[in-house]
């Protein structure tokens, strides 16, 4: 059997020892040593859908942009309308290059009139920082751009029981915190930015606080949440959860070669807001009609297509897989793929080449999984 190597090198988050204690299997991800799983990816995934899961996501990057021109800079950088990040609203947005290709997909918090917090993908932190600084300099914006990742610990508490687990530990009335809203509060007496966001397709929270309190909050949550079925979850489940919810992963569904429009993120691209990086290219792409687009596939066997594997219809190659995995909650194999226009329709069959053999797949609507909004948790 091939490939049973151990990971080496890489940065440790403040909770590394906790992961080892909890039986985490450590791998290298974007230069960070994090658990891919503790017990089993399937078990951890189901835990999040049915109860709750706790993820150490400290590898994500946090960048602060502050100054009189902070808003103008953000508005130029992102495709979404930054003026919608009013009060305690969080916005999700792609960030593009001039040619419409994607730099990263990020969350934007307007902490104050002139101060923004951007949360970026782990693998892109250095690149994004440079990109933001470069843009600030080119326009002579009066801003300070700071990478505060090293002084920020981020946890994600996700699942239908997340609110029930977190509420006893915080002074903030979580029933008043809607989806994609944030608040400054205390969790286990520790100052914390609570954000009702996540990467799993479930209700849940992302918590940002000082690393020195990491172990305390991690342990408190796991202890309090035990009766509700809370378990620590690793990167493996994080990926299977986001794929079931059809959430993009940078480097797969988004990249310098893939625009947000091609990735199906049109609602986060506000051409009408005024000029921004990539606007002309995206406008052109929209007007000309997309030449390729992201679709959802359900494999008719359980063989898993991986990134790059070709997709065929009637003998012709029509695109490639961007992400594929076994979906534990849906109990089947699913994939996202980028296919050329004219696009295949939902219900049609295609073939995917996996290790030299062709396997059948059906085009299905996205997302693969959607939580019921009338959840009584």
């Amino acid at each position: 059997m091939e490939g049973l190597n151990k990971g080496e090198g890489g940065k440790k988050t403040p909770l590394y020892e906790e992961h080892i204690l909890a039986g985490g299997r450590i791998v290298d991800f974007a230069g960070w040593l994090l658990p891919v799983q503790y017990t089993s990816i399937v078990e951890e995934h189901l835990s999040v859908r049915q109860n709750a899961g706790l993820f150490d996501v400290s590898h994500m990057g946090e960048i602060e942009v502050e100054g009189p021109d902070a808003f103008r800079l953000i508005q130029q950088l992102i495709t979404h309308d930054a003026s919608l990040a009013t009060g305690n609203k969080v916005i999700y947005s792609p960030m593009c290059y001039k040619d419409g290709g994607t730099v990263d997909d990020i969350l934007v918090y307007r902490l104050r009139e002139d101060k923004f917090l951007l949360v970026v993908n782990a693998a892109n932190t250095a690149k994004d920082l440079e990109w933001i600084q470069k843009n600030a300099q080119e326009k002579g914006y009066e801003v300070k751009v700071r990478d505060i990742s090293a002084s920020t610990l981020q946890l994600a508490l996700q699942g239908p029981k997340a609110e029930a687990i977190l509420q006893p530990l915080t002074d903030y009335n979580l029933q008043k915190l809607g989806f994609y809203r944030w608040a400054n509060a205390k969790v286990a007496e520790v100052p914390c930015l609570i954000s009702r966001t996540g990467y799993t397709g479930e209700d849940g929270f992302e918590l940002y606080f000082d690393p020195s309190e990491g172990r305390k909050i991690w342990r408190e949550l796991l202890t309090r949440g035990k009766d509700e079925g809370l378990r620590p979850c690793g990167l493996g489940a994080r990926d299977t959860l986001r794929l079931e919810a059809a959430l993009p992963l940078y480097g797969h569904e988004l990249s310098p070669e893939i625009t947000p429009l091609e990735a199906g993120l049109d609602r986060f691209v506000r051409l009408e807001k005024g000029d921004f990086n990539g606007r002309d290219a995206l406008k052109q792409q929209k007007e000309a009609g997309l030449r390729r687009r992201l679709i959802g596939l359900q494999m008719m066997d359980k063989a898993i297509p991986r990134q790059g594997f070709p997709i065929y219809q009637q003998g012709e190659r029509i695109g490639h897989i961007t992400s594929g995995s076994f979906a534990p909650f849906l109990n089947c194999t699913i994939a996202l793929g980028l296919v050329d226009s004219p696009y295949v329709k939902v219900g049609e069959e295609v073939k995917v080449s996996i290790r030299g053999r062709e396997y059948r797949a059906k085009v299905v609507p996205l997302p693969f999984y959607q939580r019921s909004r009338r959840s009584s948790s």
């Binding site: 091939e2 991986r306 290790r355």
Partner: protein, 127 residues
């Protein structure tokens, strides 16, 4: 890590159980544990012949796919059909119900080149 005394092993974490001139092949407890949840198995057709060390199938977990290699040269005379619908049997019972193929070795001399239980144990502990 369970390593039955009565089996032979490869460096690539396959096991072989000979009975007369037929042998059963699977992957070890160490291998199934490293892989995590197995969700798909690709097995060869009955009748196909492979050389020692050649990949005869694939085991797919959530995170990755791994080739499985023939411990010795031979012909496939049976495959475990149950694994098609229930690949997780390999995780649950890698040495018993999780067997993958049955072979007729074509060159019995090669069997001597395999590791015994203590040899495999050493490999796994030092690896």
């Amino acid at each position: 890590m369970h390593i039955p005394e009565d089996l032979l092993y490869t460096k690539e974490h396959e096991w072989l159980r000979m009975e007369g001139n037929r042998g059963r092949v699977g992957i070890t407890d160490y291998a199934q544990h490293s892989l995590g949840d197995i969700v798909f198995v690709e097995l060869p057709p009955v009748g196909k012949e492979f050389k020692a060390g050649e990949a005869f199938g694939v085991v797919e977990s959530v995170k990755s796919a791994s080739d499985i290699y023939m411990p010795v040269s031979g012909k496939v005379v049976a495959v475990n059909e149950e694994l098609i619908n229930s690949p997780q049997i390999i995780n649950q019972d890698p040495y018993g119900k999780g067997w993958m193929i049955e072979i007729e070795p074509s060159n019995p001399e090669e069997i001597k080149g395999l590791l015994d239980a203590s040899g495999y144990k050493k490999l796994v502990e030092e690896g």
